[in-house]
Assembly symmetry: C2
Homo-oligomer: 180 residues x 2
């Protein structure tokens, strides 16, 4: 059962390379109880079976779904503590269903952002041909060039406000300002 083919065990660096994570990340997963080497060599080297690759990829998948590592911990705990297979599966299903709704929300938000960016880029394209090409940024906020659109996109409009918040040149030491 636990004899033979030890030559197939991976060292942490090899495991890291094959899943695209750093050694540090794998150490972290171990600290959190998410991953565990099958064995340690005489010198203390971590040695992993091939299944660990699948395991880490599964962790990565959950992370990409927006689960934090502590959440993944709880997820495993839930699963292991479930009284039976079907009841465990129900809990897992609920978590996934919730994440599905969340994901759809996120997609919608990103699509809004996408449109926002498209508009902003289109608006900024028209600045490229602006004459006189040497006019200052301050005048950009309120230019009267034809930008082929009615309203300034929010993302561009914010830039005009950049200045009121800056220091004049260098912070002037307090006092001596009202030199009468």
């Amino acid at each position: 059962m636990n004899n033979g083919d030890k030559d197939k065990l991976l060292r942490v660096g090899e495991l890291a390379k094959s899943v695209g994570k750093t050694v540090r990340a794998l150490h972290l997963y171990e600290e959190l109880g998410l991953l565990r080497p099958t064995e340690r060599s005489a010198g203390g080297y971590r040695l992993y079976a091939a299944a660990s690759v699948t395991r880490v990829n599964w962790i990565i998948k959950l992370q990409s779904m927006g689960f934090s590592l502590p959440e993944i911990q709880g997820f495993l705990r839930d699963w292991e503590e479930a009284s039976s297979g079907p009841s465990g599966m129900r809990r897992v299903r609920d978590v996934f269903a919730a994440k599905l709704a969340e994901t759809r929300q996120t997609i919608k938000q990103l699509q809004q952002l996408e449109q926002n960016l498209v508009d902003s880029v289109a608006y900024l394209e028209t600045c490229g041909t602006c004459e006189p090409a040497t006019h200052t940024q301050e005048s950009c906020g309120c230019c009267d060039a034809d930008h082929k659109t009615d309203s300034t996109p929010e993302l561009v409009g914010g830039l005009a406000l950049a200045h009121p918040h800056r220091a004049t040149t260098i912070d002037v030491p307090v006092g001596n300002l009202t030199e009468r």
Copy 2:
């Protein structure tokens, strides 16, 4: 110019409430040079003009686009250092165009994930009616129930691997393992 209507200035808590950020966050933006109160009261209270609301909302917008606060710093620097309005606009456009491509990538990934979740949830639905309802989780990985699909979804398959990595019960002190 800078007289009158002081009663319109906001305290930091009011500003925070109106943009949906915490006071701590606004302090941080100030530390990073992204925000600055118009004035301080005699007692040291930060006082903001109404434009700060627009300003913070703009920061939030950039954050939601995936810019980090240090990136937003650089963004402002770029803009302010640009030799002219049109050249500044060109730089901004390039950054936005890059972010647009990134956003589209992200959307695609999330849509893949969405499909993944839909499949997994559908698969798990079929577990609800599984009989015998008391069988253990270990047998879930390799059950022969009809899940109406050929392959086990990756998100579900990973669960079966949960166990090989767990401690047996309590960590056994080293040695004494090979009791011959």
